[in-house]
């Protein structure tokens, strides 16, 4: 199947058909947010002619909420997007105004980078990447409906879109990344306006077109805090938080020194961090107090979340400040962070104060905080209610179960976060290309990528609240460390054309070098006579028995590879000596973690046989009276394919799984 733009050899349709003159693409992406950008880039890089349709070309890769990328779980996804040839990590590295490493002492599996971004530069970097991509077109227009063909096929198939300005456009596959635009409504205090976010209109026609097709929609809620003018903030009443002293990069290119940061001279009122490796701005920390809480409590009846005017489900991990005050009345203070939205803007994002309280309450609440006593709000906080497509409509390939070649990615699937959107986008783009080429669609395993965990969670678990990635959602957390993302995903990325040969070769060469280095650690037997007594204590490894391998020594908790390399001359040559500091750290993690990863793998393997065991296809779950009622309903609704999927459904307990096992075994023994 060809994937080039407007192939002249295409079979001509009958003359009276206007499809002759209709524009035609392999893949159309609806939306240009974080999911849409990655989806479009992946589809185009996989060789498909791709069109991005967005109502506002000034909002490509836009950050309507927090001007930051990363954090636990999220930076893990970003590393995978990068390994799959995606753009988010590179754009974030280019446009960052601050980098920090979180969870420094909690172990490499949960360590995470958080990047503060200049939000305009980030959008610029992303749009630039899209514009530079061959085979990718951008257009400003609005998709009002999907063209879906139903004849001659048991499952309808998408054929293109209808836009407001351009009319019908043909496509082999369509990816919807509509974010919060479906029937969006903005709410603050007593005011309620139609819109997807401040300044952008909602899209009701597309939502209607989807619900007419039978897609189940869910009403969700999210929110954003106010922004304040930095010139009105008393920074001396805050604690500054500087950027990292050590170089930190989200992308492989950044680590390799191949990223040129996008920079503009900062406004003089911003505080520059002292680190020399790149210019960074400080953020500031302050907090709410009893006065703030009293004021909010006194106005709770005016809060849409509490007086019933918001019905959508909001995420528990991103509560509004009124929520926090109401649910944790004993906490004397909640942290508030002030984060610059860019090098050359005075606007600060007030992290921790997400709210939909009336504007006068927002003003008054901020003024109870000493640092914000004089603060002038530039944009008020508000809540957004929107329709999301129930993720049970999804298959783990990101294709909709209902309509063939129709893919869904990002917040429209009920997730939250730019990173979660990007992860879905790249998988949807890759699989849309596979669908166009009639190749098998890719499913990422739960042991392969956080993106796989997310896709599986979305497709197979009931949906209770907007989905955010957490490292604790991954059973194979030790394995899915960000620094192993290339190892895990480069072969797949290369096979599908998402990364080039040079990059794939570099990843493979690194892996080979690491394997050689591990072999060196394994084969090198040492004795205490090889090292001075004083050095031994400094190594923190206690005694060295005759003939112990370096690998064994390194697995002792106090041992550090760098110190061992200094102590044992034999490590100063061979593969280990050729490792960069980054690879040396990776080697250390791999060796130190080896035993635990094996333990984790054993624990998972214990359940793996059951995990993959298929469930009988035509079971009437509602009739299995020995299942608890809730389990019967969930199973009937989600119809899991394997016992593994079934076991992850909330409301399905291990005891229910045992019941299913008994039934399945009996069914298999006496098929009827």
């Amino acid at each position: 199947m060809h994937c080039s733009v407007s192939n002249p050899l295409r079979i001509l349709p009958p003359m009276n058909d206007d499809s002759l003159t209709r524009p035609r693409y392999d893949v159309i992406v609806v939306g240009a947010g974080h999911a849409g950008c990655e989806a479009a880039l992946a589809a185009a890089r996989a060789g498909c002619s791709t069109l991005v349709v967005t109502p506002n070309l000034d909002r490509v890769g836009y950050m309507p909420c927090n001007p930051s990328i990363g954090g636990p779980g999220k930076s893990h996804i970003v590393a995978e997007v990068d390994a799959l040839g995606g753009e988010m990590a590179r754009a974030a590295d280019r446009a960052a105004l601050q980098m920090r490493l979180l969870n420094t002492s909690k172990g490499p599996a949960v360590q995470a980078i958080r990047a503060q971004e200049d939000k305009l530069l980030y959008a610029l970097a992303m749009k630039e990447a899209l514009e530079r991509q061959p085979g990718l077109h951008l257009c400003q227009d609005e998709v009002v409906s999907l063209r879906i063909e139903t004849d001659g096929d048991d499952r309808p198939r998408v054929r293109g879109v209808v836009t407001r300005a351009r009319g019908e456009i043909d496509a082999e596959a369509v990816i919807i990344t509509a974010g919060t635009f479906l029937r969006g409504a903005l709410i603050a205090g007593e005011s309620r306006t139609v819109g997807a976010r401040a300044g952008d209109d909602a899209d009701n026609e597309l939502a209607n077109s989807l619900s007419e097709r039978g897609f189940r929609l869910r009403r969700l809620k999210t929110g954003t805090p106010p922004r304040v003018d930095a010139r009105t903030v008393n920074f001396s009443a805050c604690e500054p938080q500087d950027g990292s002293d050590e170089p930190l990069w989200l992308s492989r290119d950044g680590t390799a020194g191949e990223i040129e940061p996008l920079m503009v001279p900062p406004l003089p009122l911003h505080r520059l961090s002292p680190a020399a490796w790149r210019p960074q701005l400080a953020c500031f920390r302050t907090g709410t107090n009893e006065q703030t809480h009293e004021l909010i409590r006194a106005n709770l009846h005016r809060a849409p979340m509490f007086n019933g005017s918001i019905q959508g489900t909001g995420p528990r991990y991103c509560p509004s400040v009124e929520d926090k005050v109401a649910r944790f009345p004993d906490k004397p203070t909640h942290p508030v962070f002030l984060e610059p939205e860019g090098w050359r803007t005075t606007e600060l994002y007030v992290q921790g104060m997400s709210t939909s309280l009336p504007f006068d309450v927002q003003d008054a609440a901020l003024r109870t905080i000493p640092a914000l006593r004089e603060a002038r709000i530039t944009r008020y906080g508000y809540a957004v209610e929107y329709d999301a497509i129930d993720p049970s409509e999804l298959s783990p390939t990101m294709e909709s179960r209902r309509v063939r070649n129709l893919f869904l990615a990002g917040q429209v699937n009920g997730t939250s976060g730019y990173e979660e959107a990007a992860g879905q986008g790249i998988l949807a783009g890759l699989n849309a290309a596979n669908a166009v080429r009639q190749r098998p669609l890719v499913v990422l395993g739960r042991d392969q990528a956080y993106i796989g965990v997310m896709a599986d969670d979305l497709a197979t678990k009931p949906f209770d609240e907007p989905y955010r990635m957490l490292t604790s959602r991954a059973e194979y957390r030790l394995l899915l460390r960000p620094d192993t993302a290339d190892d895990r995903l480069a072969p797949l990325a290369y096979e599908h054309g998402l990364i080039d040969r040079a990059r794939y070769d570099a990843v493979t060469a690194e892996r080979a070098l690491l394997d050689e280095a591990i072999e060196q650690l394994r084969s090198l037997r040492v004795a205490s006579s090889d090292v001075e007594r004083g050095d031994l204590d400094a190594l923190g490894i206690g005694s060295v028995q005759q003939g112990v391998t370096i690998e064994t020594l390194l697995r002792r908790p106090g041992a550090m590879l760098a110190a061992l390399c200094r102590a044992f001359p034999a490590l100063q040559s061979g593969p280990i000596a050729r490792l960069s500091p980054r690879l040396l750290r990776r080697l250390e993690d791999e060796v130190k973690y080896g035993a635990f990863i094996e333990r984790e793998a054993r624990e998972v393997a214990r359940r793996a046989a059951l995990e993959r065991r298929p469930l009988p296809e035509h079971v009437n779950y509602l009739a299995i009276s020995s299942l608890r009622f809730e389990a019967r309903q969930k199973l009937a609704q989600y119809r899991p394919k394997t016992f593994g999927e079934a076991s992850r459904l909330p409301g399905v307990t291990p005891a229910d799984i045992a019941v299913l096992l008994v039934h399945a075994t009996r069914l298999e023994a006496s098929p009827r």
Binding site: K106, L470, R477, V659, H663
Partner: protein, 467 residues
């Protein structure tokens, strides 16, 4: 469900005054009518015309020859208000193996299929009458066969085990919620937790639950008691006296018992398996040597031991050797089985002092017996019961668990111990969390909880998350 009607003897074999044959399935009443005669006219009852849950007096007959088998009570219980939720008939006849077995034979001849072990409970479970843990508790009664086991199983049907596990489950969950929150929400204020204290507390709680559960196992699975002593002191004849049946080969030649012979008796609700061991002595006989090794293994597995001495002669070096073997194990604490000393052959006039042996095993109860006349056997049983119950009594209120539950709890405990070791070795939080999560998952196999759901709910209810 294959739709057949099944039948089996529903009471433990060989005990009790009444034996019950249970018939369950769509044809239960019709089958019962073929083997039951009732009233003055000695006619089959017409059960489906009768109200459910009625008791009829009559007799069981052979369905072909009409020959009477036994007097019996028939209980008719229509679906769904029965144990299996199927039509059920129970025939209660006189106890004793013969009438009960004959009644079952008649029922099978009348068209029922012999039930597989546990099949009534399986049907109850498949028909939604019991949930899995209840079914397991019931199955454990079926195999326990004792009144005490039944009492515990009934407690378990009420969720006793879940209640007992709760503190351990809560401790592990709270720790896991902290570890996950700390990893996933580093910029939120998570109140610090003393991980070492929490881990130790969770481990201790779980250890208690398992210890209590082991005591429950004593009632369900019973205890093994090893009968030990040098060759030819009368171990096998003591076993026979306890069984009142000839099982072991008793000869006057030392070393006849070359294998371990086991028999089960019931001591006040505890099924006690007696292990007759080969005499422990230095020997060159290879076959006997194998027997002795088996004896030592049997001793290692036993919950208690009876040391048999020959009361007619002074202790020999072999006697002292056996006593020392037991004494060595005693101060070892946990694994050492308690010992009851039985001085045998007290029916004979020759009486030799046994003090050298008794001095090696101070504090152990001593009973004078005669395997031949049965003198002192009741005292021996009482002493044995005291040491066994002493074990169990140390644990208050045992919970009854199945092997599956026991294995899951053991796994949870091992994961917690791994976590404690990882913590002591200074490993970071992400590794620790792996072990604690595995522990919770193992507990979930007993409590029926899945890990993600529980932990997230715990995190969001305990910590104020969200900047």
């Amino acid at each position: 469900m294959d739709g057949s009607t099944i039948a089996a003897i529903a009471t433990p074999p060989g005990e009790g005054g009444i034996g019950v044959v249970r018939i369950s399935g769509p044809e239960a009443p019709e089958i019962a009518e073929r083997v039951f005669r009732h009233g003055k006219a000695n006619r089959p009852p017409r059960l489906r015309r009768l109200r459910s849950h009625r008791l009829l007096y009559g007799r069981v007959v052979d369905p072909v020859t009409e020959e009477p088998i036994d007097e019996a009570l028939l209980a008719w219980m229509a679906a769904p208000n029965t144990y299996t939720r199927e039509d059920t008939v129970e025939l209660s006849c006189h106890g004793g193996p013969v009438p009960v077995r004959e009644t079952l034979r008649a029922v099978l001849a009348a068209g029922a299929r012999h039930a597989e072990p546990g099949e009534f409970t399986l049907r109850a479970f498949l028909n939604g009458r019991l949930d899995l843990t209840q079914a397991e508790a019931v199955l454990s009664v079926v195999s326990a066969r004792t009144v005490e086991g039944l009492r515990l199983a009934v407690a378990d049907l009420g969720g006793e085990l879940s209640r007992r596990i709760r503190p351990a489950r809560d401790a592990v969950l709270s720790l896991l919620a902290f570890l996950d929150a700390a990893a996933d929400f580093p910029e939120d204020e998570i109140p610090p937790v003393d991980i070492d204290v929490e881990l130790a507390a969770a481990e201790a709680t779980l250890r208690d639950v398992i210890a209590g559960a082991r005591a429950g196992l004593l009632f369900r699975e019973g205890a093994q008691v090893a009968i030990v002593g040098r060759p030819n002191v009368g171990k096998s004849s003591l076993l026979n006296a306890l069984l009142r049946a000839d099982r072991a080969i008793v000869t006057p030649i030392a070393g006849t018992t070359r294998d371990v012979i086991s028999e089960t008796i019931t001591l006040r609700g505890i099924p006690v398996t007696l292990l007759d061991t080969a005499g422990i002595a230095e020997t060159t006989d290879i076959v006997e040597q194998i027997g002795i090794e088996r004896s030592q293994r049997a001793l290692a597995a036993a919950a208690a031991a009876i040391l048999v001495l020959d009361g007619t002669v002074s202790p020999s070096s072999d006697d002292l050797k056996v006593a020392r073997l037991l004494a060595d194990r005693l101060p070892g604490g946990e694994d050492a089985p308690p010992v009851v000393i039985a001085i045998n052959k007290r029916d004979l006039p020759d009486r030799a002092a046994q003090e050298p042996v008794l001095a090696l095993l101070p504090g152990c109860p001593v009973v004078e017996i005669s395997s031949l006349t049965g003198k002192g056997i009741a005292d021996l049983e009482a002493a044995l019961l005291r040491v066994l119950e002493g074990e169990a009594a140390a644990q208050t209120r045992p919970a009854l668990i199945t092997a599956r539950q026991h294995a899951a709890l053991d796994r949870a405990l091992n994961h917690l111990r791994d976590a404690i070791a990882a913590r002591a070795a200074g490993y970071p939080l992400d590794l620790l969390a792996t072990d604690v999560r595995a522990a919770f998952r193992a507990l979930g196999e007993v409590t029926g909880e899945t890990v993600d759901e529980a932990v997230l709910t715990e995190i969001f209810s305990r910590f104020c998350i969200g900047k």
